[in-house]
Assembly symmetry: C2
């Protein structure tokens, strides 16, 4: 009955992937991978060393769907104001130029942090937190966000859907809790695989685990 | 940094109420109250005594929006299989003919319980759990559900929206995370106030706390 055991099931859900065929689309419709991102942390090289010891590097664990990205073996404790904390938050690799903590609103409410919805990397003016690792502590002055829902795709997928990088799409999930999420940010480039990223609040609200179909829809 | 402190902020959110005017509707549009139900428990008289002692009755605390209902002062621990638990789950009153535990999927995943989406009271065949109170323990053989999203209204509201008891409506929440929830169950009777009930996963997915507008829409 420890806090850690409460948390583990969520940690194990880091970026689960669910593949569902489009309903009623043409047979050329690309396979859409739905990924639910549980709370996680991105770190700089410097912060990896501060938290895990001099010379430490991330240890790649489970590969993520997008090539080159992975869940690291390492986890950190995320501490908010008034010393509320999440004990075991997964680090994703590779390292980045800025450290960033991505939480669902259910998490930010638990921590007492008023985090805004931001696309990854747009962390100016966001709240900070304290990260605790086995070998040290880092105080982030900013970087706590709820990641904006988005869809990765390559340029062929973008042409298929009639969208371009930076556009917005809607995502309808048909389930026992049918839900349409609007304004998914399109992140299109030459090499990305087709993949939607939503967070645990969104996945749970729509009961994505038991979804009958999902559909990406171009917005007017 | 105790488990209880992590949990308290959620407990305090029990059935928060947010009033938002309909956007663009006629001036006669009724005020729509949006309530986010955090995890909670309904108990029988017998289970109140088993958990809180012989002769115990619920102590009414904060009144809920619907007349006659209240958050009780009492809380229980909800224990799932493998001894994962939620330490402080609010009891709502008055007592009922059957005990029932209403959780968000984020909670059921933490507990390791595979709860179905059900309208309140339809608990046949649902999983059980153990409830722990200060004076005793109750093993529920069934009753753990995710409450189906729904809207209470009186017959005048139903006429305004062109729906009847048992129909389904959609709810569009416009925010930084604009979301449309389909298939809200209409629960219309002579006396209910107009009020939508969604759970914490749904409220957080749609960022209801910062919503610009909400709109109830009749489904085809």
């Amino acid at each position: 009955m420890s806090t850690v055991s409460l948390d583990r099931s969520t940690v194990e859900r880091i970026v689960r992937e669910i593949v569902l065929r489009h309903g009623g689309g043409p047979s050329s419709a690309p396979n859409l991978v739905m990924s639910i991102s549980a709370r996680h942390v991105h770190l700089t090289d410097e912060h990896v060393e501060a938290l895990f010891g001099p010379g430490a590097k991330l240890t790649p664990g489970k590969p993520l769907y997008q090539d080159g990205f992975y869940a690291a073996e390492e986890t950190v404790m995320v501490v908010g104001p008034r010393r509320r904390m999440l004990p075991t938050v997964r680090v994703l690799g590779p390292t980045r130029p800025f450290s960033q903590v991505e939480l669902a609103f259910t998490d930010t409410i638990s921590l007492g942090i008023d985090a805004p919805v931001r696309p990854s990397g747009k962390i100016d003016g966001t709240p900070g937190c304290v990260l605790v690792g086995p070998k040290g502590v880092v105080e982030l002055t900013q970087g706590v966000i709820r990641a904006e829902r988005h869809v990765h795709m390559n340029l062929e997928h973008a042409a298929y859907y009639g969208v371009k990088n930076g556009d917005r799409m809607s995502l309808r999930i048909e389930s026992s809790c049918t839900t349409t999420f609007e304004d998914l940010l399109v992140r299109a480039d030459k090499t990305s695989k087709l993949e939607v990223h939503i967070d645990t609040d969104e996945g749970n609200a729509a009961d994505l685990d038991h979804a009958k179909s999902v559909k990406l829809i171009r917005q007017k």
